[in-house]
Amino acid sequence: MSRTAPTPNRFGVALLAEWRKLTSTALWWVLGLGMAAYLAFMGAVLAFTFAAAPPSPDTPAITGVDAALAVLGTLNAIGYVFPLLVGTLLVTTEVRHRTLTQSLLVEPRRGVLLGAKLVVAASVGLLYGVLGVVGLLATSAPVLELAGDGIFLTDPAVLRVLGLGILVTGLWAVLGAAFGAVVPNQVAAIVAVLAFTQFVEPIARLGLAAVDSLSGVAAFLPGAAADSVVGASLFGEISGGGGDLLPGWAGALVLLAYAAVLTVVGRYTTFARDVA
């Protein structure tokens, strides 16, 4: 993105600097612990629901490996706001606390700075994915093992759902960083992330799914695209109103496309401006 390609070393030191910026304040572990704790709670709730559900003639009981998949598939659907926020804050906190000046003094090539942030966002996103899995398993595994049919941790389908969930969590963090580059005002960015993920997209997915000619569009919303990477989960289907999803690979590409467009916009707006 910069005029001349950065040397590997220049990008390397920028990565190290970004990692140190991230890990030298409390934000990253507070959000990470929050994600693990929240998923542990939801994992327990869902696992109890499946393990203790009384047989009903209306809805077939979810049992066996399906129950394990239904619980572990919620990593993305429930936890994605955490990586999105950490990615956004990775950029906006520099604007809020005016550390952007110092960051650009040591690396005036703004594309290098932004690129390093995206890579560090991906790394911390993947780490959050692992933390989320740990949180989910910490509660759902004992519940399903003791009261249900088991957690099936060695089942390829279960491993696949966990792996894809971690991958998508990494993508969310990249998307967050790219969004932060477009909306550098920290308060505005946080409000926008929360409003979009908690209200706008769920309503849009339901609304679009209700209109035949537009039902295909809903699949291209970021949350729907992320759901499609992990595969249709129970929670995804409830929150998605049962709309059609893209193939998994296409969902990942849609998320990457969002990140790419936001990155380019951020690079030529926020990261092109005078820093005064």
């Binding site: 606390h97 000046t101 960051s103 005036p108």
Partner: protein
């Protein structure tokens, strides 16, 4: 020490309809402390930010060692800068702040500790910046600028928030850095603050250059005057009129402009005039500074 010259050539910057910097040209030489002076809002900070590649000039160029700042391979190791309004994350420790920026100027944690000690923040380095006083933040900014032991230093209002001891220390420190051959540029809106530190002055007002010279040349602009007290002011007035000197009542006596004390004393002696005080008044640089910057507005 191969220190770079800082050069500003026909530099201009407009923010919408506001002309913040206009046709500004000056050079800052190595081995000297240069004061960059002007009232608040005169375009100092914008000029410094253009030198550092943070603000893009509308016209002209700002060069470090003959090249734009961002054309240097490791610019942060060439020019150490402490700018006003540069922030610190309140939740980061002083040491954490320095170590975050250390990789890109090529220094290790050990050096971060060293510069903390150097600016007198040693024990405070492990505390969060949110609890720092203004003076401590100023010192941390200076520590950041010094990280890579750079041959050029660019400090924006570095005395702000420092206690008197800190200001005295800073003076000596900057003199020492310049004596080592480094290029040192210090901005201030108060000449008196840097008067005892700088060798050269660049004065701007309303974004335009109004004066650039050595401090001695600036002092010469102020001229000399002699303060005289006598029990017979009427005789003194007559004497001044006879010699064609400009005099005016001042304090409890008379000020005679552009004449030194020896000349006034000799004339009074020859005229048999009794004097109670006869003093050369030093150049009042602040007056000159206000005259220079005031004339532009």
């Amino acid at each position: 020490m191969d220190a770079p010259v800082l050069a500003v050539e026909a530099l201009g910057k407009s923010f919408g309809p506001v002309r913040a910097v206009d046709d500004l040209t000056f050079e800052v030489q190595p081995g000297r402390v240069t004061g960059f002076l002007g009232p608040n809002g005169s375009g100092k900070t914008t000029t410094l930010r253009m030198l550092l590649g943070l603000v893009r000039p509308t016209d002209g160029r700002a060069l470090v060692g003959g090249r734009p700042y961002d054309a240097h391979p490791v610019p942060g190791a060439l020019v150490g800068a402490a700018l006003e309004a540069t922030g610190f994350h309140p939740g980061r420790t002083g040491l954490g702040h320095l170590t975050a920026y250390a990789p890109q100027v090529g220094v290790d944690r050990q050096r971060c500790r060293e510069v903390l000690e150097l600016v007198g923040l040693g024990p405070a380095g492990d505390r969060k910046v949110g609890g720092y006083s203004l003076g401590m933040r100023q010192r941390l900014g200076l520590a950041t600028a010094l990280l890579a032991d750079p041959p050029a230093l660019l400090l924006d209002e570095p005395a702000n928030g420092l206690d008197p001891e800190g200001i005295v220390w800073l003076r000596g420190f900057l003199r020492h850095l310049a004596a080592e051959g480094r290029t040192v540029l210090v901005s201030s809106h108060v000449l008196a603050e840097v008067q005892h530190t700088v060798d050269d002055v660049v004065v701007i007002a309303k974004g335009r250059l109004v004066h650039a010279s050595s401090l001695a040349e600036l002092a010469a602009l102020a001229g000399v005057s002699t303060y005289v007290e006598t029990p017979d002011p009427a005789a003194l007035s007559a004497l001044c009129a006879e010699r064609g000197w400009v005099s005016a009542p001042r304090d409890r006596g008379t000020q005679v402009d552009d004449v030194d004390a020896a000349t006034v004393g000799a004339a009074a002696h020859a005229a048999g005039l009794e004097l109670h005080q006869l003093t050369t008044r030093g150049a009042d640089l602040e007056d000159v500074f206000l005259r220079l910057t005031g004339a532009a507005s």
